[in-house]
């Protein structure tokens, strides 16, 4: 995907036959852009090309002399490896569950906050706070201070009502990771959806009310269609960040108990198993997977963007 978007940039922007002074001027206009562009290509595109190349080699870092070209063997191995296939499934499950749950919760909270009431600013600040905790710190908070079976807050509160004292992480490991991520990402969804709600056409809303539309009808036929693109944007941006999640899985379960997602598996296969070729093949597959999401995301962002450009 990056290659296709890069292509038009790299294409000669100045047509042959123009006088050299025009060409010079075009380059002068473009010059301020070049440092950033070159920097991005060098730092983000070159490593990826290297990853693709390495993925065709059988290369264990502990036996560098045994490095050899193996073609698509790594891909075959990655795609047939049960652990890896499981981590693909885990990644999908984790991403879909967290994005959907935080979208629904975020929508509810945004609707609550889109009304005037006493202390609205305070409530908004309280709700944003989880998103502003450093991800590792948030994961530690959930692991030790909330989930701990002996003295965590959850079991402490359950103790008051005489409830059971479950070991949350070992009993429902994936759900435990998901809950901590939903806590962090709901504020993000809420902020985006709240921005969407506040950009509604208020004259139209009032006209609908004057015509006798009920709250539900206004929500269903005016608010929801208007929010559609904001919901899509939240879902896609959330997916991009959560597909890449490493911190929560690493901290809460260290990839154990079937919670290893793709980024964690890639990290592990080169950090602990030193399998450079395999790690690269898995990395390439992660990229191919995220291209699907990214293409959709780019489409949504560009539709919002076009509207903004045409408005300006």
């Amino acid at each position: 995907m990056t290659a296709t978007t890069a292509a038009p940039v790299a294409a000669p922007a100045v047509r042959a036959g123009r006088p050299p002074s025009a060409r010079l001027r075009a380059w002068a206009t473009r010059a301020p852009l070049m440092p950033a562009l070159v920097f991005m290509i060098v730092v983000t595109q070159l490593p990826f090309v290297a990853t693709v190349v390495i993925s065709f080699f059988d290369w264990n870092a502990l036996y560098p002399k045994a490095r050899r070209f193996t073609g698509l063997d790594n891909y075959h191995q990655v795609l047939t490896d049960a652990d890896l296939r499981h981590s693909v499934w885990t990644t999908v499950l984790l991403t879909v569950a967290v994005v959907l749950a935080s979208l629904v919760l975020g929508l509810g909270l945004a609707l609550l906050l889109d009304r005037r009431f006493r202390g609205r600013g305070v409530v908004r600040t309280l709700l944003i706070a989880p998103f502003l905790v450093v991800p590792v710190a948030a994961a530690l908070l959930w692991k030790h201070i909330l989930y701990n079976p002996e003295y965590g807050l959850f079991n402490g509160l359950l103790h008051y009502v005489g409830g059971p004292q479950p070991d949350w992480i070992s009993r429902t490991p994936l759900l435990a990771v998901e809950a901590s991520l939903v806590w962090q990402w709901t504020p993000f969804m809420m902020l985006i959806l709240l921005a969407g709600l506040q950009s509604r056409d208020h004259e139209q809303l009032e006209a609908a009310r004057v015509d006798g539309a009920s709250d539900w009808q206004v929500f269903r036929y005016l608010t929801l269609p208007h929010l559609r693109r904001y919901l899509e944007l939240g879902a896609l941006l959330g997916s991009i960040y959560i597909v890449q999640n490493f911190d929560a899985v690493f901290t809460l379960t260290s990839g154990g108990l079937g919670t290893a997602n793709l980024p964690y598996t890639v990290y592990q296969s080169f950090y602990q198993a030193h399998e450079n070729g395999l790690a690269s093949a898995a990395g390439v597959l992660v990229v191919i997977g995220s291209i699907v999401i990214a293409t959709l995301a780019l489409r949504v962002v560009s539709s919002l963007f076009r509207e903004e450009v045409s408005r300006a």
Partner: protein
């Protein structure tokens, strides 16, 4: 009320803030009669406000509990049922800052500060001229360039991890904070270019043209004309970049060791710790999160804009 929320209110049409008027009259047109409906609505309003408050408190509770725990002694922190009213102490913080004999977090905090601040400055230095070319001069294919920047943000970082690691190892750059500075710059540059181009679109082209006619060169135009007008936007961009660099764990974990360790990597030392250490973990998590909490609260609305890459205003 925070300034951000107040600004949100200010943007609303006046008719919404006045109570009564056509809105209420319209709603009251149902069979229940105007008076009863309006009364029911007010009660419903109180209920919804209460629901919002409850939701806010529920989401904040884990943080509040963490803050309280950080001021408890280790014995009081590890009780079941929890000791809400236990006496407060700074022992957790003393323990975290290493006066109790453990490793001091100061080198890690300093590294994080260096990496975040330097990479943020670098990002601004690269993004401002780029946004100028894209937004004010409108170079050919400017939308393609913008979307190229955006697409690099969607490339999972983990895919480039191995080559970067191998390069760093061969170049002797492992455990070097400047490697992280470069990587964090590339991580945040797309966001910054997107945000800045939308802020610079508000700079009047005529002002820039006038400066150019007067013979001002690019650095002068950027520093004297563009930057002062776009200052709020530049500040917002800087905040977002700072938060993301400060939070980053994966690259820091793989590419640094004892010398260049950052604050999130320092925190991972608590993952498998045993024994009485809850107050210390709570204190550590709070101290490390403090800069982000402060920056985020200071610019709540800018946060959305940065995270959505400028697509949501």
């Amino acid at each position: 009320m925070s300034t951000a929320a107040a600004a949100g209110d200010a943007g609303r049409p006046k008719s919404r803030t006045g109570d009564g008027g056509p809105e209420r009259a319209g709603r009251g047109a149902g069979p229940g009669g105007a008076g009863r409906r309006a009364g029911g609505r007010r009660r419903g309003g109180t209920g919804l406000a209460l629901a919002a408050w409850v939701a806010g408190i529920v989401f904040f509770l884990p943080l509040a509990w963490m803050a309280l725990t950080s001021f408890h002694s280790e014995q009081d922190a590890a009780t079941n049922p929890p000791s809400f009213g236990a006496s407060l102490t700074l022992d957790g913080y003393r323990e975290f800052f290493g006066t109790g004999g453990g490793a001091s977090p100061w080198p890690a905090l300093t590294n994080s500060a260096v990496a975040s601040v330097t990479s943020t400055l670098l990002v601004l230095l690269l993004a401002l001229p780029a946004a100028y070319a894209l937004s004010i001069r409108r170079v050919r294919k400017w939308t393609d360039v913008l979307f190229f920047f955006l697409s690099t943000k969607m490339l999972p970082a983990v895919a480039g991890l191995l080559p970067v690691y191998l390069f760093a190892k061969n170049a002797g750059l492992l455990d070097n904070i400047w490697l992280l500075v470069v990587l964090y710059t590339s991580m945040n540059l797309p966001i910054a270019v997107w945000m800045m181009q939308s802020f610079l679109a508000e700079v009047p082209v005529a002002v820039v043209e006038a400066a150019r006619v007067d013979g001002a060169r690019l650095p002068t135009i950027l520093a004297r004309v563009v930057a002062p007008i776009a200052l709020p936007g530049i500040a917002a961009t800087a905040l977002i970049c700072f938060i993301f660099s400060w939070n980053e764990l994966l690259f820091a974990r793989v590419l640094t060791g004892v010398v260049a360790e950052t604050a999130p990597v320092f925190l991972t030392g608590f993952i498998t710790s045993q024994g009485l250490f809850l107050a210390k973990v709570a204190a550590a998590s709070l101290v490390v999160s403090l800069p982000v909490l402060a920056a985020g609260f200071a610019a709540q609305d800018k946060l959305v804009q940065g995270l959505s890459l400028g697509a949501v205003k």
